[in-house]
């Protein structure tokens, strides 16, 4: 396999973990090789974006032949049918909830953790240096392919040079959680919390990071069954409920609270 092909496979996450580690090691030791990898990364990304642009140009051509849309019919508003439907829906929902509680019982903590994991929305953030952003793109790729340990290695490289890259820390927290390294996932979350006034960074899933930390605590308590772990979990959960008003997480947190009570 030529160097270029190997680099191409590395960049698309297709190398084995051993080969990946060897290549990353070579990049650290050989500056010329590191430059070669970065150059090809730019070339392959550029080719990818060019391909997207070409496809979008084609879609814009197709846009010219789009069928006309029917004018939307204006609905007259009447409260009564709406109320009738709402009442019927409530009755049905109530019956379902009753049946569910009767036959299902409460989920275990493990089931709760599996059901309530909220995946991180992956989208490459380029608000940082090109090299950090490229490393982040690689880390995301590894994450998507389930290569969590390669993802963590990549993110450690970023963390060493770009301590304010919150989203990289956030992704690391998820990769650690997925690798069942719950204690380390919690430590990463603490780092996230300790960064005040992050530079160059806007969109960060603070609620998602806090919720993933709670799920890590759930897993730790589930494994240890120690009362002190439960106390810590409840404390975090109460803080979370005080600070968090977003319904996605709030409903989950309330369910967890009732499960722990």
């Amino acid at each position: 396999m030529s160097n270029v092909e190997k680099i191409q496979q590395f960049l698309s996450g297709k190398l084995s973990s051993q080969e990946t580690v060897a290549l990353q090691k070579r990049m650290q030791e050989d500056i010329a090789f590191k430059k070669e990898v970065e150059d090809y990364q730019n070339i392959f990304l550029g080719l990818k974006y060019l391909k997207q642009e070409k496809f979008e140009a084609k879609v814009k051509e197709w846009n010219k032949n789009l069928p006309p849309l029917d004018a939307p019919a204006k609905k007259s508003f009447s409260l009564f049918p709406f109320l009738k439907k709402a009442v019927a829906a409530l009755v049905i929902l109530g019956l379902f909830a009753l049946l569910y509680q009767t036959f299902q019982g409460q989920p275990t903590l493990e089931e709760f953790g599996q059901k309530n994991y909220v995946a991180l929305a992956l989208d490459t953030n380029r608000g940082h240096s090109m090299s950090s952003a490229n490393n982040y793109a690689l880390a995301e790729l590894n994450f998507e392919q389930g290569k969590y340990s390669a993802c963590i290695t990549q993110l450690n490289t970023i963390e060493a040079t770009d301590t304010f890259y919150l989203k990289a820390l956030h992704l690391k927290q998820h990769a650690l959680y997925q690798s069942q390294k719950h204690q380390e996932a919690l430590q990463t979350f603490s780092k996230v919390q300790s960064i005040e006034n992050p530079k160059n960074y806007l969109e960060f899933g603070k609620d998602n990071a806090a919720w993933t930390a709670i799920l890590s605590q759930v897993a730790l308590y589930q494994n240890s069954a120690k009362p002190e772990d439960k106390t810590q979990l409840l404390q975090s959960l109460n803080n979370f409920l005080q600070e968090n008003t977003e319904e996605t997480y709030r409903a989950r947190a309330m369910e967890l609270k009732s499960l722990l009570d």
Partner: protein, 195 residues
């Protein structure tokens, strides 16, 4: 057991082949849902919704092609496309805002828009694509065609060999390697010149 979206899951593998007639057919058919959904907003004209649709459909196809969306599906493909459309709409508004603000001297707002990662990302992508596009033009016609067939049309090496009268798939790999090396030399020279 068949999933709730088994029809869409079958469609997913057809989309992944990149067959243009299938894609164009979908583009026409999904418009009937996508168009009215975004036209409900009073701040978007038909032409603007069409622009958003082109970006959304492109991302939709690229994501499927790159296997970012795989079975089992948790929503219909139409819902997925509308979800992408919502992001494209936000980017569209940011872009629109930027264009408007660039003509004034409101630096606060300009800097806010430029701090948005999505907007930055878009600019970097466009700049990199333009730069690599410029470098491609410096290659000879054979290399340009080889890159076109390999990276844009994603032909297999034996198909490229047949199309370009190259003796074997192995020879295609060798030539592609040399073309990419040339491209890299151009890249290094350009970077040096820029500095």
């Amino acid at each position: 057991m068949d999933s709730k979206y088994s029809e869409d899951e079958k469609l997913l593998s057809k989309i992944r082949t990149g067959n243009e007639s299938i894609l164009e057919g979908l583009h026409q058919s999904y418009w009937k849902t996508f168009g009215p959904y975004f036209l409900k907003r009073k701040d978007l004209s038909l032409e603007e919704v069409k622009t958003i649709y082109a970006s959304a459909f492109t991302n939709f196809y690229i994501n499927i092609r790159e296997k970012k969306l795989v079975p089992p599906l948790r929503s219909s493909l139409k819902s997925y496309l509308i979800g992408i459309g919502k992001n494209c709409m936000l980017q569209f508004f940011e872009q629109k805002n930027r264009d408007k603000e660039t003509s004034t001297e409101n630096l606060d707002l300009i800097s806010k828009v430029f701090q948005n990662p999505a907007v930055n990302e878009q600019y970097e992508q466009e700049a990199l694509a333009a730069f690599i596009g410029k470098l491609l033009l410096q290659l000879g016609p054979d290399c340009q065609r080889l890159i076109q067939l390999s990276f844009f049309e994603e032909n297999a090496d034996d198909a490229i060999a047949a199309k370009m009268n190259i003796p074997s798939a192995g020879a295609v790999r060798q030539r592609r390697f040399k073309c990419l090396e040339k491209l890299r030399n151009f890249l290094s020279n350009n970077n040096t010149t820029d500095e």
